[in-house]
């Protein structure tokens, strides 16, 4: 993974020291809250319902075990012994007190971590496929390009006061595990005979007005990537709306101008920047960053008979399910990609305690070259596990309470913090997710249902990604009561689609029953082996409407 050189170190340390100074001045009263707000807004420090929330940047979701241990220490020392992994591959702490922030930032800086640009109207964490560098068929590890984009976007003097926040995601595989089509800019990397080529999209997003991104360029070259991004950000900075908070994301600009017109303007700006030399990205720098993403020291191994192990019953049934659901094919023989589920119906989705973080750090050291990835679905990945180590790893996970074999199943939901934490929420979301997980906790039934992505947002800001859930749940305020709208058929991968509202909303004590009715209707009408999304697309909304509302 990327390691700071002395330049990165100087830059980040300097900025961290500066923010520490600003926090100290706020504490002493030298700065009022009004003066402090713009400063903390660029440094991931939010004032929430109960306390400050601090969002720590985890570039493209990649953590070393050393960093994970430090996050565990921070959770123990400065929070209530847990942290929350987010849908942008970051981690946040919800119970921070301002006087502790300077020390906390110092502890982060000690392990090359910071909170820079995790909030504010600037370019946020660049996210990438959590299987990057491990999965077969990849054009290139997208995380190396996420690192290049990260450096270009950090303290960019022109793009630090955009109309609104800006989110970029990168995939290197045809199957998109980074949800690039619902990002402000999405980058898809492929390999051609002439080398790497980038397809770049603009204007995806969720929130109040969800949109799928439009393609701007299909075959950008490596050395031109940053020039394309600069052109896009400049158009947005100049033309994005600043009069209306709810219409200020780039997706609104793209929708307003139309994909063709914004493509034309971007291409024109791109050509103009190229004429004065373009944004430099020397081959030497690409090569330098590539070395940080070189493959780890794999052993020469054979594949085990995982297919056989996956069919096991009796005592080995849970392990077999773990293999089926939580592991994926690695590009190197004898290895496997493992996902650790942070969804068990007890914990809020995406939360881990300090002890769990430390355990996962140990497991990463033991089994995966000391590296962990955070996924945008709020789980953790050990990307390079030897197949012969899988049984041992599994048993250690079970012992630590982290052994749920439910990745991609109904319990593996995305949920926003919701009314329990967030001042913007209309409804709770965590308890709904927990109840759904409990309702479907019987493992055989969960696997019978199969691939099911439920995504829950407590308000229209869609931090739980409800627009792109197979079943999306949106919390609304109905005459002062918590109500939930259901939408079906959303998808965040390369086949992206926005879910459609199925009908009138449900009360808090009805919504989980409603979800169950949708799932039962699916089970009733599906063809052999047909996943939910395919069944919904084939059947349409009618059978589900009937199940929910009884209308013919």
């Amino acid at each position: 993974m990327y390691r700071y050189d002395e330049f990165d170190e100087t830059l980040v340390r300097g900025r961290v020291e500066e923010f520490r100074g600003q926090v100290a001045r706020r504490l002493s009263g030298a700065l009022t809250e009004d003066q402090f707000k713009p400063l903390r807004l660029m440094n991931g420090l939010y004032l929430q319902l109960h306390a400050y929330m601090l969002r720590v940047a985890v570039p493209y979701g990649t953590l070393s075990s050393r960093q994970m241990r430090q996050l565990a220490m921070i959770a123990r020392t400065y929070d209530k012994n847990y942290g929350h992994f987010t849908t942008r591959q970051n981690i946040q702490f919800n119970w921070i007190e301002l006087p502790q922030v300077p020390e906390l930032l110092g502890a982060l800086a000690d392990v090359e971590m910071h909170c820079i640009q995790t909030s504010g109207n600037c370019i946020r964490n660049v996210t990438a496929d959590p299987y990057g560098g491990a999965v077969a068929g990849e054009a290139e590890d997208p995380r190396l390009w996420a690192e290049i984009i990260r450096q270009w976007s950090t303290f960019h003097p022109e793009f630090s006061y955009l109309p609104r926040k800006f989110k970029i995601a990168v995939t290197g595989s045809a199957h998109d595990r980074a949800a690039i089509l619902v990002h402000d800019i999405g980058v898809a990397i492929r390999r051609t005979d002439e080398g790497l080529r980038f397809r770049i999209y603009i204007g995806g997003g969720q929130g109040r007005t969800p949109m799928i991104a439009a393609q701007v360029v299909d075959d950008a070259r490596e050395d031109n990537l940053l020039t394309w991004l600069e052109a896009m950000l400049r158009i947005y900075n100049r033309l994005g709306r600043r009069d209306n908070l709810y219409k200020s994301r780039v997706k609104i600009l793209v929708h307003g101008l139309g994909a063709e017109e914004i493509g034309r303007q971007i291409r024109e700006e791109y050509q103009a920047i190229k004429q004065t030399g373009g944004v430099p990205l020397p081959e030497a720098e690409i090569t330098r960053i590539r070395t940080y993403f070189a493959p780890p020291a794999y052993e020469k191994l054979q594949d085990e008979d995982l297919a056989g192990a996956m069919r096991a019953n009796g005592k080995e049934a849970d392990y077999a399910r773990f293999l089926r659901r939580n592991t994926a094919k690695h590009k190197v023989a004898g290895y496997r990609i493992v996902t650790i589920s942070l969804k068990d119906g007890e914990r809020p989705p995406g939360d881990a305690t300090s002890e769990e973080m430390e355990k996962i750090a140990d497991l990463a050291d033991q089994y995966s070259f000391g590296e962990i990835r955070v996924t945008h679905e709020q789980n953790l990945v050990l990307a390079h596990v030897k197949q012969k180590d899988l049984p041992k790893l599994y048993h250690q996970l079970v012992e630590a309470g982290l052994g749920e074999g439910n990745i991609g199943l109904v319990a593996d939901q995305i949920a926003c913090p919701g009314l329990d934490f967030c001042a913007l929420a209309n409804t709770r979301s965590i308890p709904v997710a927990q109840e759904i997980a409990r309702r479907f906790s019987e493992p055989k039934r969960a696997e019978l249902i199969g691939d099911m992505k439920i995504k829950i947002s407590g308000c229209i800001n869609a931090c739980g990604h409800h627009h792109v859930g197979h079943i999306g749940i949106l919390g609304v305020d109905k005459k002062g009561e918590e109500h939930f709208q259901l939408m079906l058929g959303g998808s965040a991968d390369e086949d992206a689609a926005l879910g459609k509202i199925i009908g009138p909303s449900f009360a808090y004590d009805e919504v989980v029953d409603a979800v169950e009715k949708v799932i039962e209707a699916y089970l009733e009408h599906r063809q052999e082996g047909e996943p939910f999304l395919a069944a919904y697309r084939r059947l349409g909304a009618e059978p589900f409407k009937r199940a929910l509302y009884g209308t013919a």
């Binding site: 330049f7 713009p38 003097p157 022109e158 400049r234 900075n237 100049r238 430099p280 030497a284």
Partner: protein, 167 residues
């Protein structure tokens, strides 16, 4: 409002020309007024300055930049960052070499970004601690992106010991 240039508080020799006022040098005009009688203003011997709105394309000034000694760009609210792009375009695309002034709601934390975008004149609050402003900018010794003005300390170039990023 105080004027910060080259690290010091300086007197402002420019004043917006009022309607009907005699045309003493130097002349500072809002863009709308400038463009209304462009040929007339350009033909004068006076030093010319334009206050340019932040929602217009700076290429509108391109042809006249050689004749302008001052361009004032606007930050109506500190969050409104459109003038950063205008500044870079004026300097890097259109080759403007006169004084480029930042006006409006400007925070000490933005001073460094503005300098890197090519501003060299800043309207700061009357009670601004100029020394603190200079120190805040001076602390930023290194940066990732090349941009108008402060080429020398760019990380990319320093890392690879390049003269320009095109190598």
């Amino acid at each position: 409002m105080a004027l910060l240039e080259e690290g010091r508080r300086v007197a402002d020799r420019w004043q917006l020309l009022e309607e009907g006022e005699a045309q003493a040098s130097p002349i500072l005009l809002p863009y709308a007024r400038f463009v209304e009688a462009r040929k007339h203003w350009l033909a004068l011997n006076n030093a010319l300055g334009v206050v340019f709105p932040n929602d217009l394309d700076p290429s509108l000034l391109a042809e006249d930049l050689e004749r302008l000694s001052l361009v004032v760009l606007q930050f109506p609210a500190f969050r409104d960052g459109r003038a950063y792009s205008q500044a870079r375009l004026l300097r890097e695309r259109h080759g403007y070499r006169g004084t480029l002034r930042a006006s409006g709601d400007i925070l000490i934390d933005q001073y460094f970004f503005m300098k890197r975008c090519g501003f060299d004149s800043f309207e700061v609050p009357d009670d601004a601690d100029i020394k603190a402003w200079e120190e805040a900018a001076a602390k930023r010794t290194t940066w990732y992106q090349p941009s108008g003005g402060l080429e020398g300390e760019n990380i990319l170039l320093a890392r690879h010991k390049l003269k320009s990023g095109r190598d």
